[in-house]
């Protein structure tokens, strides 16, 4: 303890390596589990398609060619054409952006609102806890899809309202997880220590407790993501979502479903498969996201 020699080189080297340690951890999580790697590869693929898909597609997704209607998959039209002669492949690719946009923004909205509500309820308790708890119970009391239908039907058939409806029905899940996770950490030793260090209550909640609730929230997030995509597609499927002729997986499945009986299976199958793949990806992602944000997984 008398040895107070300051070693700048060592400290400097350590400081710059924080990034590389994060990267090393990412690499470890990726390589330790092939499923994790697959999930992230699929996600990366989906993001690339969402960003650049419209530039890459061979055909205009909205162009109708009436003499090419209902053609099966071929070299020119990989996924065939639909009843109006539009290229199904181009439409499936272009729809990725819209479907991801709806689900990501809906989930982000419910994540932030739900986390804030649940955290306040869990940390301070009292009347806010009781009030928000009963509000969430009320939301949960409805069949969630029917509630979303009702909201969209009442508020109007726009993308914004689909996002809000999806966010509202997902809200209770985040709020409950956040409330439980915050309330078990409320009296933790490091929270007391933060009080002694002069942190205000709000700062303790946001900077000390909330980051520690991330791992379970991340699992909830990715599971909900697949759900949100299904929900948005479901609303479109029953005619309460995105309107034709916009390319969207839900509408495409809905429109294609009429033709399955007469043997034109490709109209519904390919958008359905895309939907399935997206949901699958997000469900796989859950555990790997938790591993990434959990500091205990690092050595």
């Amino acid at each position: 303890m008398t040895d107070a020699v300051y070693t700048p080189q060592l400290a400097g080297a350590k400081r710059s390596s924080a990034w590389s340690r994060g990267l090393a951890h990412f690499r470890y999580v990726m390589t330790s589990n092939p499923v994790t790697f697959l999930a992230f590869a699929l996600l990366a693929g989906m993001i690339v398609i969402a960003l650049f898909g419209p530039m890459l597609v061979p055909h205009d997704p909205l162009a109708t060619i009436s003499d090419k209607a209902l053609k099966p998959p071929s070299a020119e039209h990989w996924f065939g054409t639909d009843q109006l002669g539009r290229d199904v492949f181009s439409r499936v690719i272009v729809a990725t952006r819209l479907d991801l946009l709806i689900s990501v923004s809906a989930v982000a909205l419910s994540f932030f609102v739900g986390a804030a509500m649940g955290a306040c309820a869990g940390y301070w308790g009292g009347w806010f806890d009781k009030l928000s708890g009963r509000l969430l119970d009320t939301i949960m009391a409805f069949p969630l899809f029917v509630l979303a239908m009702g909201i969209v039907a009442a508020a109007g058939n726009t993308i914004q309202n689909i996002v809000i409806a999806t966010a509202i029905i997902n809200l209770p899940f985040y709020a409950r997880v956040a409330r439980a996770e915050v309330s078990i950490r409320r009296h933790a030793g490091y929270v007391q220590a933060a009080r002694l260090s002069g942190n205000s209550e709000l700062r303790i909640l946001i900077m000390k407790i909330m980051p520690n609730t991330l791992p379970p929230m991340m699992v909830q997030l990715s599971l909900n993501m697949g759900w949100a995509i299904l929900n948005a597609a479901g609303l479109s499927f029953i005619g309460l979502g995105v309107r034709p002729p916009t390319a969207e997986w839900g509408i495409m499945v809905a429109e294609g479903a009429n033709y399955i009986v007469s043997g034109e299976w490709w109209l519904a199958l390919f958008p359905g498969a895309a939907l399935m793949l997206a949901v699958f990806t997000f469900n796989l992602l859950g555990d790997s996201l938790r591993d990434l944000v959990d500091p205990q997984r690092r050595t």
Partner: protein, 574 residues
């Protein structure tokens, strides 16, 4: 050692190696351990955390977790080969021939099943009782571990019993089938000294009367010395010494054993005696106690509302007395003085320290610090008070008190940022590194997260954070309770040095009278929210006035051999 060919040992472990597969490759947790337990013998395995003492016992029970495996060696129990026994055979043996008592009795019991039923389960599982006779036998077993009113306790759930009672139930379950070998893995860690004494004496008496062998695994050399016939000392997975108890204390052969005996507080004359002989620090400067009191606590009370909801209040049962965790205590601490606050769990010492620290509001009473009344500012708003930086605390559990997402440097920098208002990153880093050097934390550890640090290193981070703002009063809430004795020795010396350097006052909250004797000038003994005795620590420990203090002192395991060793130690050092 004394076992011969004519008298084969009950348990024989030969060249046992246990490996764990981890992310960093294979870890050899136990390296070619040899040990034997004779019939009726009590063998102690002593070692610090990571010594492989628990893993050895898990290997004997064959309850290693999935990552672990017995890599080599033989385990024989009464002529049976346990190292390659199959699961059905082991599950038949466990509980019937070999039983185990775990560290945390509450965790070892099923929380949603009455304790009596849990005893019955074992009896029925091993065909020791039929269903209609099981209850009778279970009550008998409860009576045997001296639980008062066993018929009523039969229906109790674990949460309704105290820690000591739960451990008695666990012992009752372990001994229900009259096993030949009892493995006790830290059976009294986390229990109060008086409870520890009762539990250990019960185990000794029962195992003796049944002629059982016992394997006592503990980190407490004093406990092993008092209750074991023979002691094995383990370090880093290997056995370093194996002797009968008297011989071990009289003439420890291995340097590690000597170091371990040295760092046990019972033998030490002053705090420097705890450190290894080769680490000679200069003696502490004489104490300089200021005349005026730094902290004055008067008639401090903390009440908790009695349980009961709206319904009970409506029924007019609102007259139930509130529970008084702290019941009108008064004391003072002078500048530069260190005061020990001693008592068993539930005596109100932690509540007192939380109130002085302004983490908890007092129901009534006054706390004056440097002549200023603290209770006028509610605890929720004390973070903004200028006195916040003068009052700091080191927490009991070094792991739990560090944010799992903050590096050591971030944890230490937190008070600097919030209380000193420092903003320049380089200046903060310099201060953090200076503090780390002061508490002896290697600088390259500063960017590690808490789970990447050892217990002693985490304790240093907690101390560095607490002294970052140079507080005048530091409360130490059992700062070494979760640490190994050798680490405890170093941390206690560090605390004594820091106090001499900065002239801080300490309020040292502890259940361990021996540690308090070494670090504190004055001691306050608390029981049930009240102060039962107060005085200079040397006087209180050598000549206790209160009955309760005497009881506490006599419950500390203090083997006669160790006392002799201490005397010898004293003779040598003077």
């Amino acid at each position: 050692m004394s076992t011969t060919l004519h008298n084969p040992p009950l348990l024989a472990v030969r060249d046992l190696c246990v490996e764990f597969a981890t992310r960093k490759g294979t870890v050899n947790a136990v390296r070619s351990v040899n040990l034997q337990v004779a019939k009726g013998e009590t063998l102690g395995i002593v070692g610090e955390s990571g010594s492989g003492k628990s893993v050895t016992s898990y290997a004997v029970m064959r309850i290693l977790d999935r990552a672990g495996r017995i890599a080599a060696g033989r385990i024989e129990f009464g002529g049976m080969r346990l190292h390659d026994a199959d699961e059905p055979m082991m599950s038949d043996l466990r509980g019937r021939e070999i039983s185990m008592i775990f560290q945390n009795p509450r965790a070892a019991l099923n929380p949603i099943r009455p304790v009596g039923k849990q005893i019955e389960d074992v009896l029925i599982r091993h065909a020791q009782a039929t269903r209609d006779r099981a209850k009778e036998k279970a009550i008998e077993a409860l009576a045997k571990v001296r639980i008062r009113d066993p018929e009523a306790r039969y229906h109790a759930y674990p949460f309704e019993l105290s820690g000591g009672m739960c451990q008695r139930v666990v012992i009752a379950i372990a001994l229900a089938c009259k096993p030949q070998l009892l493995i006790a893995d830290e059976p009294t860690t986390g229990l109060d000294v008086t409870t520890q004494k009762a539990v250990m004496e019960l185990v000794r008496e029962l195992t003796r009367s049944e002629g059982m062998s016992t394997l006592l695994i503990t980190h407490d050399l004093g406990l092993a010395g008092e209750y074991c016939d023979r002691i094995i000392v383990m370090e880093k997975g290997a056995v370093v010494e194996q002797q009968d108890t008297r011989g071990l204390f009289a003439a420890p052969a291995h340097p590690y054993t000597r170091r371990l005996i040295r760092s046990t507080p019972h033998a030490a004359r002053n705090i420097r005696d705890l450190l290894p002989e080769d680490l000679r620090l200069p003696p502490l400067p004489p104490l300089q106690v200021g005349a005026e009191p730094l902290l004055e606590v008067k008639d401090l009370v903390r009440e908790y509302a009695p349980p009961g909801g709206l319904l009970q209040r409506l029924r007019g049962r609102g007259d139930a007395q509130p529970f008084r965790a702290v019941d009108g205590i008064s004391f003072s601490i002078a500048r530069g003085e260190s005061v020990g606050l001693v008592g068993e769990s539930g005596c109100g010492k932690s509540t007192t320290s939380a109130m002085v620290m302004r983490l908890l509001d007092a129901t009534s009473g006054s706390i004056r610090f440097k002549g200023r009344e603290l209770t006028t500012v509610p605890s929720g708003r004390f973070a903004g008070s200028p006195l916040r930086r003068e009052l700091q605390m080191v927490f009991q559990d070094p792991h739990e008190s560090l944010n799992p997402r903050s590096t050591a440097a971030q944890s230490i920098a937190d008070p600097l940022l919030r209380l000193e208002g420092m903003t320049d990153a380089a200046a903060i880093r310099d201060r953090v590194e200076a503090l780390a050097a002061q508490v002896g934390l290697p600088l390259e550890l500063l960017d590690r997260l808490p789970h990447q640090l050892s217990g002693g290193q985490k304790a240093r981070v907690g101390i560095a954070r607490a002294i970052a703002t140079k507080p005048e009063l530091l409360i130490l809430d059992e700062p070494t309770a979760a640490l190994d004795v050798s680490v405890q020795a170093v941390v206690l010396n560090l605390l004594a040095d820091l106090k001499a350097e900065f002239g801080m006052s300490y309020l040292f909250v502890s259940h361990d009278l021996e540690v308090v004797r070494l670090l504190c000038d004055r001691v306050i003994v608390m029981r049930a929210g009240r102060i039962v005795e107060e005085g200079p620590s040397a006087r209180v420990l050598s000549d206790p006035q209160a009955e309760y203090t005497r009881e506490l002192l006599s419950a500390i395991p203090r083997p006669a051999h160790l006392a002799g060793h201490a005397a010898a130690n004293r003779a040598v050092s003077t």
